[in-house]
């Protein structure tokens, strides 16, 4: 199993100060991950967020291309219906030129309505525009794109479109395994990537794990639930189904990778057995303070070079 890093994910950093420091840290993290031998780094997209969350992934990755030479540069994921496909095509072609073909294009349908509104785009037609835009950007790629999925239906769509599948961190381990099965049953022949929010701690830091888990639980409850991202193996879970929602939230929180290197190693084997080919460790949590990402990347490098299969 390959190991990637999600280093622009749950930012939630300083909203009032300069936004330049997290972008500087992003470049430093990319260079470090490249030097240590991670397979790929992935960045995710949000708009109009006061903490400076990155809305332009391809521009950010072009900066990362300048400080790296080997690591794959991935969007995890670019919300395709928010963009003009002609712009995406031109920018992907330029990123490919700058990065020497290291580009992994992960694409998503989008789930935050306010982003569509502020960009003057229709919300209800985003699925159709996603399918049409994939066809339009496909010829700028040299390898299949990744289609994001949080449910079995998303996995089947990825298979139909000839894409790899990129499983959302909002999917619990049980749901992720079901998504991987659905992808294969639908004829998907690409790779299955799974994104996981990760905090790798030393034994002495273990008492803090409960606090981190509680924070994640609240965050997932506020964000994933309100955005309609949560699902179990039976399908999406709406906010009205309170008991089922509580169970799913519990499972999703438990599925985050909070543990020592040894426990994450063990979880990695389990996920490989469930059909995951690429594990993307999302380590950027702004609320854990500056320097956190670097420490996580160095600690997680202990997993490199190991076989992740069972």
């Amino acid at each position: 199993m390959r190991l990637g890093l999600g280093i622009w994910t749950m930012q939630a950093g300083d909203a009032a100060g300069s936004h330049a420091p997290p972008y500087r840290e992003f470049l430093e993290s990319a260079a470090l991950a490249d030097a240590l031998g991670f397979d790929s780094l992935w960045v995710s997209e949000h708009h109009f967020v006061a903490d400076g969350y990155c809305p332009s992934l391809l521009v950010a990755l072009a900066g990362a291309a300048a400080v790296t030479s080997r690591i794959g540069l991935g969007t995890g994921a670019l919300v395709l219906p928010l963009h003009d496909p002609a712009v995406v095509r031109a920018q992907v072609a330029e990123l490919r030129r700058l990065a020497g073909g290291r580009v992994e294009l992960g694409l998503a349908v989008g789930y935050r309505r306010e982003e569509f509104t502020a960009l003057g785009l229709e919300w209800r037609t985003r699925e159709r525009r996603f399918r049409e835009s994939i066809a339009a950007v496909r010829d700028s790629l040299e390898r299949p794109a990744w289609a994001a999925a949080a449910t079995g239906a998303g996995a089947r769509r990825a298979a139909r479109l000839g894409c790899h599948v990129l499983v959302s961190p909002a999917a619990s381990d049980e749901t992720a395994a079901a998504i991987a099965r659905a992808y294969r049953e639908a004829g998907g022949i690409g790779s299955v990537a799974l994104m996981r929010d990760t905090w790798c701690y030393a034994e002495r830091e273990a008492p803090r794990a409960a606090e981190i888990a509680a924070h994640l639980h609240r965050l997932y409850g506020v964000q994933y639930a309100s955005w309609g991202l949560l699902a179990d193996t039976a399908g999406p879970v709406g906010p009205g189904d309170r008991e089922r929602l509580a169970r799913v939230l519990e499972r999703v929180t438990r599925s985050a990778l909070l543990g020592t290197v040894d426990s994450i190693r063990s979880r990695r084997r389990t996920l490989a057995a469930a059909g995951v080919d690429l594990l993307i460790l999302r380590v950027q949590w702004g609320w854990l303070g500056g320097g956190h990402v670097r420490g996580q990347i160095e600690r997680l490098a202990a997993l490199l070079g190991e076989r992740g299969g069972s």
């Binding site: 300069s18 936004h19 972008y23 109009f48 391809l58 521009v59 300048a66 003009d84 712009v87």
Partner: protein
């Protein structure tokens, strides 16, 4: 003293290898402008500028864009680019003919400045993040070589900085140029043209270079046919 920068046509910046572009940029003293000739080049340019600006740490990078795509998305690209470059970004935008193009540049200027801008009843008020890393990131309006004094009038009245061709700058009344932080763009066909005086009121000079004058990009300061020499100091000081 008139500040001096260099410009490279985007068509060339987008085709030479990043290593060659870095080598060229390392010899520049002022901002290195990458200027798009059309919409297609304009779309890819923030990426080229990101790679170049990150690879050459102290280089000021200018992007000359074409106003066409959604102004919020363009601002987002520029704000991310500016943060990657820690504020070393200059922006110029060619508005095309007509009032609508200039209005887009004015909206871009407000969004880049961190303002929440009302984009109408459907989109509402929009503020772009990340904030630009620059304190005063007003983009310049870029007038093309074919622009006339009639095109320049509304641009100069807008209060935005302006970049305009040398010949047009020389033809305008000095009262229009003075105090506008105007820059001129000079496309050079030979080093002799560098001796032309800088019009009064112009505070910056941007020389357009071609990378396609020989088998490899020209080194600034080299001599000979097709290469570019460092220009002499301007013969006139801008009014104070």
């Amino acid at each position: 003293m008139t500040a001096l920068g260099f410009a490279v046509p985007a068509a060339e910046a987008l085709t030479v290898s990043p290593g060659e572009l870095r080598r060229l940029a390392a010899t520049a003293e002022g901002p290195l402008w990458l200027v798009a000739a059309d919409v297609e080049e304009s779309r890819a340019l923030p990426l080229t500028a990101a790679a170049l600006g990150v690879a050459v740490p102290r280089l000021r990078v200018g992007v000359g864009l074409v106003a066409y795509d959604d102004v919020v998305r363009v601002t987002e690209d520029l704000c991310v680019l500016d943060n990657l470059l820690d504020g070393r970004l200059d922006v110029a935008v060619a508005p095309g003919r007509g009032r609508a193009g200039l209005a887009r540049v004015e909206t871009l200027a407000r969004l880049l400045g961190g303002e929440a801008v009302d984009l109408g009843p459907e989109r509402g008020r929009v503020r772009v993040y990340p904030r630009s890393a620059r304190a005063a990131p007003a983009p310049a309006v870029l007038l093309s070589p074919g622009a006339t004094p009639a095109d320049a009038g509304p641009v100069l009245r807008s209060g935005l900085p302006v970049m305009l061709p040398h010949r047009l700058a020389a033809s305008l009344p000095i009262a229009w140029r003075a105090g506008r932080a105007a820059a001129i763009i000079e496309t050079l066909h030979s080093s002799a043209e560098l001796d032309e005086p800088v019009p009064r009121g112009v505070t910056a000079r941007v020389l357009v270079m071609s990378l396609r004058v020989g088998p490899s990009p020209p080194a600034l300061g080299s001599t000979g046919r097709g290469a570019y020499t460092r220009p002499p100091p301007p013969k006139e000081e801008p009014p104070r």
